[in-house]
Symmetry: C2
Subunit: 290 residues, 2 copies
């Protein structure tokens, strides 16, 4: 009991990177499960259930929590279904039942300072997220309001896993550096004074992932989507992305885990898929370190 | 009565740019009022009212509708207060009472294709917006789902009015062109095949606004924030931004109109402020054309 109180107390006073390091250590996992709830893909038992989005996600959380360091909740899937209340309930469920795991709200917002204050409040107060994804295009003052919550994380889009990443992110600047690398460097050198920042880098860009880790050093964590359906390779991703401590990354998989099966065994299938990813990542990590 | 039916029918079959041209023609205004509802700034009468966000905005809409071509609704101000239902109600109110005016949902989203489909559904179906603002950083496939609603508009951030616009948007590319201008050109040349695109360009960047209009030609409309508190000059903005037909822009003002007064006369003050902006813009327009 005293141990629990102590853990609760420590979690409250930890900053974002300490919380993340704690979750890596306790979970022994670098896997992040992405919760992208699409009711048309839910198992039969959730049809005609008014809070099916919460219930489906809760089951996935319970099935996979043992194998992950964090959950990423994609807000668009909730807002398209008018399910903001279910997102609140889900965040609260994860916080109460898995206090050592991190909640990343994937919302990719970016706006002028006065508007971003509202987005920060939404992410950190309404949803109680430990970290939030943001878009860098509007520059520092669009991200500044998030820093007021100095125990929370801000994970900036750097090089994304979609095909459109080649439209602008890869553009070479006049100094010869591609835009994505310039952004990574600026954040590492100038913005990350309070260790609140991380970067999103797609697993399908292994060479660039290596360059980014080299450029930013060991401090900043990377959120890495793009394994699974988007084709990223786990071994290469781990090799290129982990830091000197053998962590520093959250490798995200969504659909391959949460929709691993639509049969009666869907929860077991999700757990199994998460376990396999977790092990594959850890094997790659061991090979890299030893 | 037949006239009303005919208008309703025509509005249904018009595409985005036709609807916008219709709203410019009927309203004789290039002004857009930005609805950024902040309850701490509301007049006394709205305190302790459960749907105060809707009610305040509805009053502003009624007070200013005569002087505007469109309303821009900033979603962050609703979501921070758990007021998505009030945003739905407000969109529905504007659609029903001012069918010739356009609703721009200012959400600045951008995500991978499968996620953006949800954001497009949210903007166009849940909120029934005529147009939505989006962030270009993730490239074409992050914006592609919006094109499926081929009567709606997509207004892409190009050069924003905040100080952070200098962090990345002004960066020179290896071909010598600044990023914002490259984005404007790509959209005009490649993406805008169905006349659904517009650009956001801040009024405080008059020289760049001129360059953008020159680069994209007359077709694409510009949403121009940054007058009022952000210091943009109306005459220079109109000179630089309007197209050959003397329109092509929506000049947005939010706080200077909706919080023009916190006294009993707040609705009259909002109407007066909107009327003054509308007239100032039209005077600048006449000077430029004749």
């Amino acid at each position: 009991m005293i141990d629990n109180y102590l853990t609760d107390f420590l979690l409250v006073i930890m900053n974002f990177i300490e919380k993340l390091e704690n979750s890596w250590k306790i979970s022994k996992s670098l896997l992040q499960v992405g919760l992208d709830p699409n009711p048309t893909l839910f198992p039969e038992e959730f049809r005609n259930q008014s809070n099916s989005i919460f219930e489906f996600c809760r089951c996935i959380v319970d099935a996979t929590a043992f194998y992950v360091c964090s959950f990423k909740l994609q807000i668009a899937y909730f807002s398209a279904y008018k399910a903001e209340d279910q997102l609140e309930e889900l965040c609260s469920y994860i916080r109460n039942n898995y206090p050592n795991l991190l909640i990343v709200l994937d919302s990719k917002r970016g706006d002028i300072y006065s508007t971003s204050k509202n987005y920060a409040y939404e992410a950190y107060e309404r949803y109680q997220a430990h970290a939030v994804t943001v878009n860098p295009y509007m520059g520092f003052d669009s991200i500044e309001p998030y820093l007021e919550w100095n125990d929370r994380g801000i994970i900036v889009l750097c090089l994304t896993s979609n095909s459109g990443s080649s439209d602008f992110q890869f553009l070479n600047l006049s100094n010869g550096e591609p835009l994505y690398l310039y952004i990574a460097g600026l954040i590492a050198d100038k913005w990350n004074k309070n260790s609140q920042f991380g970067l999103v880098v797609g697993a399908n860009h292994t060479n660039e992932l290596f360059k980014i880790r080299k450029r930013i050093g060991n401090a900043m964590p990377l959120l890495i989507p793009g394994i699974g359906f988007q084709g990223g390779n786990i071994k290469d991703t781990v090799d290129a992305g982990i830091n000197i401590d053998g962590n520093g990354i959250m490798i995200n998989s969504s659909r391959k885990i949460i929709y691993a099966s639509s049969n009666n065994n869907w929860m077991e299938a999700a757990a199994e898929s998460a376990r396999d990813y977790c092990n594959e990542i850890n094997n790659a990590r061991c090979e890299k370190i030893f």
